[in-house]
Amino acid sequence: MDNSNYAQVSKRKAIVGVNLLRLITFITALPVIGVIVYIIVRGAPALSWEFLTAMPRDGMRAGGIMPAIVGTFYLAIGTAIFSVPLGVAAGIYIAEYASDNKLTRLVRIAIINLAGIPSVVYGLFGLGLFVLFLKFGTSILAASLTLAIMTLPVIISTTEEALRQVPSSFRVVSTSLGATRWQTVKNITLPQAMPGVVTGVILGLERAVGETAPIMFTGASFFLPLLPQSPMDATMALPYHIFVISTSVPGMPVQIQYGTVLVLLFFVLGMNVIATLIRNRARARRQW
């Protein structure tokens, strides 16, 4: 047997294999890059100061999309108000307090599965519970609550995951110095997990911001002459706006459609970039 020959062949195979993986990875990324580039190219001409800051005119066919941008902000904030405290608290409870028994495991599985429920189901649930039963009407409040419920599983599981990554030696040391469980969470584990928690919150909100189905029954309106004045008012929102101008408005300039999509994309990608920056900075500073 010629060993050197064998080594050469296996090396050649390895090179082929690695390049194949490289190609497959590139092919996977291609559609994403393609979509983004396409939307930027088609949508960029529509962008202008007026487009971002003016009310729509002429049945949406001209003017700006300011109310939809503002509405999306409102919904993001409303969603955060309800989902962040609840989700983080639940994540802390599951990671730091709950004992590992059947009930906890059941709850955890339920939370993971909640993340897989189609968003339209959340929309109908929100319609039934918040809009009709609790009589909030189609409002920012009802839509925010619906989006919050949809966002909760993401926030809970990322919070839990971030806390579990904090080395248990910190908990033991803190406890040995006379800390109560809550003092340990407050002083050590939660601050250490914070970057992970913030990332999870942003990713969860990002999903909420981009969704159409949960808000179309609960709080989104196609056109409102005024900006919402209170949480009980309905609001315009980017995803729903895109849905309507793409399907229901005859003679809609294509440029405005792409421009609106581009603005939403900026919104979501921007949040993503912030989440990534926070994560990377925290990783560089982490001491364990």
Binding site: S169, V172, V173, S176, L177, G178, Q192, W288
Partner: protein
């Protein structure tokens, strides 16, 4: 000689049965270095963690017997464990600074008690770091992360952190196992100075350290206390064959 802690017939089992204690009775003598030694898995750490109730965090299935500390059974569920842990400081085998600055590591326990006066904390930091023979090396680095110190310094930082609480008992679980000989010598020296004020339990990381430091020593093997003696008795003149075999290096 007075007894600070008296362990009576302590039997302890973890749910998974990994390491446990079988019917241990031993006294911890005040103002002395009490050495618990023996091969890994002998139950020494478990015993330490029973004394400050750190085992509450672990999955323990059975605890029987008593641990009397100043006449009170610390295994009693009524005992205030927070108070207990402040009086019973613990140092772990791996230097484990909290992810905080040097200063904040030292004052961590004090802050937990609600002490926030800067002048008080400043004073305690210097005092505790001096006791652990670390002040001269870190006085100008108090705001650096604790983890930025060297391994030996980190371990002395962990000792200062405990001393800042002014404990009655200091338990060190193989505190020098990850350290170089110079750092080890510094810590052993420090223990000799501390023992006039504080009672010490040391789990040494080898027999030599046990022999160097012991005022009283107990030899633990597989969850049992094989032999207990005053001074260097176990190393000079062991009664049990297992003790002799271990201290002479026949197993371990």
């Amino acid at each position: 000689m007075s007894v600070l802690i008296s362990v009576k017939n302590l039997t302890l089992m973890y749910s998974d049965g990994v390491e446990s204690l079988h019917n241990i009775s031993i006294d911890v003598v005040a103002n002395a270095v009490n050495v618990f030694f023996g091969p890994a898995g002998g139950g020494k750490s478990t015993l330490l963690r029973a004394i400050n109730r750190l085992n509450d965090l672990a999955d323990v299935s059975t605890v029987e017997g008593q641990i009397f500390y100043n006449g009170r059974n610390v295994l009693d569920p009524q005992v205030n464990v927070i108070e207990l842990r402040r009086k019973v400081g613990m140092v772990f085998s791996r230097p484990a600074p909290l992810p905080l600055t040097v200063y904040e590591n030292v004052v961590y326990g004090l802050r937990l008690m609600g002490e926030n006066s800067k002048s008080v904390l400043d004073g305690r930091v210097e005092e505790a770091l001096r006791q652990a023979v670390l002040w001269d090396e870190v006085y100008d680095r108090l705001n650096d992360p604790g983890i930025s110190l060297s391994g030996g310094q980190q371990q002395r930082l962990c000792i200062s952190r405990v001393l800042a609480l002014d404990p009655e008992l200091l338990m060190l679980d193989e505190p020098t196992s990850a350290l170089d000989p110079v750092s080890t010598a510094k810590i052993e020296e420090m223990l000799q100075e501390l023992k006039s004020r504080i009672t010490i339990i040391l789990v040494p990381h080898n027999v030599q350290q046990a022999a160097r430091t012991a005022d009283y020593s107990g030899f633990f093997l597989q969850g049992k206390l094989v032999e207990y003696a005053v001074g260097k008795g176990l190393f000079v003149n062991p009664r049990e064959k297992q003790t002799q075999d271990y201290v002479t290096g026949r197993f371990g």
